[in-house]
Amino acid sequence: MALIQDIRDFFDETGSLTKFAGNFFTNGLKPRYEVKEVLAQSYSIGYKSLPLIGLTNFIMGLVLTMQLRPSLVKYGVESQLPVMVGIAIVREIGPVIAALIFAGKIGSSIGAELGSMKVTEQIDAMEVSGTNPYKYLVATRVLATTLMLPILTILGDGISLIGAYIGVNINSVTSLHLFFIQVFHSLTFSDLIPAIIKTFFFGFAVGMVGCYKGFNSVKGTRGVGISANSAVVLSSVLIFVIDLLVVQFTNLLGLN
């Protein structure tokens, strides 16, 4: 019986989240446009996430290079290290790491902030003062996360490649110019475009899940903690699901 209830809860939650997300297109994108709030959220979400995403991507680029080297040396293709690292970072590791860090930092923060506003009736106060809280709080944050994550990913990829360059130079000497020529000669638009497009979906998922969890927060301060936590868990899972779907889709289109 518990299993049946769990399955029912899962479908209830999925339906509820889908309806909440659908509201973004039917209601959230209509005038009046909250341009000032979108810009404020973009600054808060984008600029403030850059140091963390930059640091993790730098370490990832460095570590990935150091881990790949022994295998490539074994097969005598050490010279292909920048190519392999570049493709891995741009196509998969850069976007996914950035999205996961983004989910951890921004998803939880949105979930906690809106959850706290919900339990202290601030969202109700906004509604009774004639402001649509969905448009003011949700649509602005979702737009900001959707627009900011691709930019953060591109910057993160660049920082990650610098990490990779340092990794390459630990055991050999390669000029920065040569390293980047090798990386960019190996990359095509079919590597870049799907990788960037999927980050829009990642950003949308992180923002939407954070807002959904916050908006549906219950049980006081404990509920706020639960909202923040479940926002991170659910958006992280969704990032992998979206990644899987995008890879399948781009395979179908012959982009891989």
Partner: protein
């Protein structure tokens, strides 16, 4: 004394009261199997203070949340200035809401904004194109009304419970509403501050000539504020009258509130 139909204000109230501003007819609201309001009826007249009294969980807060449109009733009419709230579109509801102020039990001030920003928020949302000079003037006027001009640049977390209540009241009044709904305005305050808030509510009501529905357990607050007291019991308007009338009632259910 017990009533089940729409209640009328006493004669003494009628003298200074105009047309009904809120008419509630046959209101039903339930949460699952828990029926909170069943055939609740009420009229509130211009410049009248109606206090709704009832036990915890009786549905008092549910009632005012239905009036402001935060909750949708299962059945019944809620006419505010002739507009039936449950049937309004979101845009129409927003227009009516500009005429209604709502003071939340926990104040619901935006804790990430300064007091100035809290007060500016409703102005900026409704009166687009208002110049900064005009906004500043209105914000300072609102703060003067509650005697807290010096808190302008402070954050809500820096203020005491009584000060927060005053600021929340200032924010409620800034759009100059014609009706104010108070959800337990003195809950959680010490007796001295609670009396100050009661007096402030009365002073501002006289100044702005508003009509009010006040939810309260605090009998001192009820005595000070109420033109008319409505007893919400078992989901219906069980009794209504002035404070004195209900205080001297022989009905056991009414008496327990005044003991």
């Amino acid at each position: 004394m017990p009533v089940s139909k729409i209640t009328e204000p006493s004669e003494s109230n009628k003298i200074s009261k105009g047309e009904p501003v809120i008419i509630i007819e046959h209101l039903f609201k339930s949460f699952g199997k828990n029926v909170v309001l069943k055939d609740f009826n009420l009229k509130v007249y211009g410049q009248e203070n109606v206090v709704v009294l009832g036990k915890s969980g009786a549905g008092k807060s549910v009632l005012i949340k239905c009036i402001i449109g935060l909750l949708k009733p299962d059945r019944g009419k809620i006419l505010v200035f002739g507009n039936n709230i449950p049937e309004l579109s979101p845009d129409e509801l927003d227009k009516v809401r500009t005429k209604i102020g709502f003071l939340f039990q926990a104040n619901a001030l935006y804790d990430s904004m300064t007091i100035r920003e809290n007060l500016e928020f409703p102005l900026r949302r409704h009166w687009i194109g208002l110049k900064q000079k005009e906004v500043d003037k209105m914000v300072l006027e609102a703060l003067d009304n509650v005697g807290l001009r010096n808190t302008l640049e402070m954050m809500p977390i820096e203020l005491s419970g009584g000060m927060l209540k005053r600021i929340a009241l200032a924010r409620t009044l800034i759009l100059k509403p014609e009706i104010i709904l108070y959800d337990e305005p003195t809950t959680g305050l010490d007796p001295v501050t609670a009396r100050e808030i009661d007096k402030l509510i009365l002073k501002l009501q006289k100044k702005f000539k508003t009509s009010s529905i006040v939810i309260s357990h605090d009998m001192n607050c009820v005595k000070t504020i109420a033109d008319r007291v409505v007893l919400l019991l078992d989901g219906i308007c069980y009794a209504e009258g002035t404070y004195d009338e209900l205080e001297h009632s022989e009905d056991e259910k009414i008496k327990q509130f005044f003991e």
